[in-house]
């Protein structure tokens, strides 16, 4: 067995003296502070702090960009405006439709919040996104779920909204046996669940990939014999994955917001 092959073997070997792959414990760091309030346990961890830092940072940026907003924008204002215009024109106006503009502030909040929290997955020293824990995506998805159902009931009336959700117009009566359960499940359970899981799983997996290749780089440097020559490959992979992560960060923030706009569109306008 050549030394390189043995190195590979020792990388792949789990447990013992070999490479320790990251586990789910990555996402459960030691709490910095713990307290109980009204019977609910609160644990402030490193990830909680990262979420606050990210939110505070995007808030400071937005407030600075929008303060003294003028006709001829400053560079900062232009950046903030571009982000807001993307949501306002590209989603609220174009996806939801003529009634969409009132939702632009909420959609913008969603977009900027997810973008900032996602971005922490590649910011040095943080390097983990609060979105890679299920709590935050779940909160957002539930808010979206409440919003689009409430808007649907308000705009179309409860009876018509639930009837259209259960019995989509234009579907043959025979097919309703299949369609109705699927539609109901989709609108009221699958939509919020997939919305939350999509965001969470992407950030979770992205973090795992980065950790695997980063730890791998270090391990291959230290494990001895010739395995050191494989270290740069692991490093390059970590680098490539970081760039990929940039794409995922922006894309997931965008997708979450666009899907919210799509659901709101369905609620605002009666089904065709």
């Amino acid at each position: 067995m050549t030394s390189s092959a043995s190195a590979l073997g020792s990388v792949l070997a789990s447990g013992g003296e070999g490479f320790h792959a990251p586990t789910i414990a990555e996402f459960y760091p030691e709490p910095i502070a713990e307290f109980s309030l009204l019977g609910v346990d609160f644990a402030i961890t490193r990830i909680t702090i990262i979420s606050w830092v990210a939110t505070a940072a995007i808030l400071v940026f937005l407030v600075l960009a929008s303060r003294k907003a003028s006709i001829v924008p400053s560079r900062l204002q232009f950046l903030g405006e571009s982000g807001y215009s993307l949501v306002r024109d590209g989603m609220a106006r174009d996806v939801i439709g003529p009634k969409g503009l009132p939702f632009a502030p909420f959609l913008a909040s969603l977009f900027f919040f997810i973008l900032a929290n996602n971005a922490m997955s590649i910011i040095p020293f943080a390097q983990i996104s609060p979105m890679s824990k299920f709590a935050l995506p779940l909160v957002l998805a539930v808010l979206v779920w409440i919003l689009y159902n409430w808007v649907g009931i308000r705009e179309q009336g409860a009876g018509k909204y639930f009837k259209d959700a259960a019995i989509p117009p234009g579907v043959p009566v025979g097919a309703l046996i299949l369609v109705t359960p699927i539609e109901l499940l989709q609108v009221f359970i699958i939509r919020p669940f997939t919305l939350a899981v999509r965001l969470f799983a992407n950030m979770f997996a992205g973090h795992m990939l980065l950790v695997v290749f980063s730890l791998g780089t270090v391990y291959l440097l230290q494990v001895g014999n010739f395995s050191i020559i494989f270290s740069p490959f692991a490093f390059l992979m970590a680098l490539a994955m970081t760039f990929f992560e940039v794409l995922v960060i922006v894309l997931q923030a965008y997708v979450f917001t666009v899907l919210t706009a799509t659901y709101l569109n369905g609620a605002v306008e009666p089904a065709h």
């Binding site: 979420s51 808030l59 502030p105 709590a135």
Partner: protein, 187 residues
């Protein structure tokens, strides 16, 4: 939560505390964005749109103004042209009138001149006729004396003969127009 507990934790079942903290974090951000950031951006958008539309409106107003000025200028030009034509016509008519007047004046003048000339002519003839009458008498007597050879110096006789002759001549002239005219032209 310690590491051992984490190992058995289900990542899809987050603790309630985490959910509440996340909700509060998002609520703070959403509050600031909805309350301050978005209205500020929207205000800038409106201001910008108004600035652009205001510029367009100003340009339109200026164009309308220029058009109005052109219309006015054209109207004035047309008016001036009409006025010029009118003046020209009036001048022509006036010239015609002056010409007419001058012509009648000249005709009157020439008529007057002709009339005066005729008058003078008539007066001169009258005078000449008178002179000739005297001279003819003397000449005729002289000639007759020479022809007869005797002096007819007797004034009384002489004047009687001449007067008789002249009366004869006048009678001839009065008896026939043709002969009178002939006699007149001969004199």
């Amino acid at each position: 939560m310690n590491i051992l507990a984490a190992e058995s934790a289900n990542p899809l079942l987050p603790p309630v505390g985490e959910i509440i903290v996340g909700l509060i974090t998002f609520a703070i951000l959403a509050f600031v964005v909805i309350k301050f950031v978005v209205p500020s951006f929207e205000k800038a958008f409106v201001a910008r749109r108004e600035a652009i539309e205001g510029g367009l409106e100003r340009a339109e107003a200026m164009q309308a103004e220029a058009k109005a000025a052109l219309e006015q200028y054209r109207a004035q030009l047309a008016e001036a042209r009409g006025e010029a034509a009118q003046i020209r016509d009036a001048a022509r008519a006036e010239g015609q009138q002056i010409l007419e007047e001058l012509r009648t004046q000249a005709q009157e003048e020439s008529a007057r001149i002709v009339a005066r000339g005729e008058e003078q002519l008539a007066a001169q003839r009258q005078q000449i006729v008178h002179e000739l009458r005297g001279q003819i008498g003397t000449l005729a007597v002289d000639l007759a004396g020479r022809v007869v050879g005797e002096s007819l110096a007797d004034d009384a006789r002489r004047s009687g003969t001449v007067d008789r002759f002249l009366a004869e001549l006048d009678g001839m002239a009065a008896s026939g127009d043709g002969r009178g005219a002939v006699a007149e032209s001969n004199r």
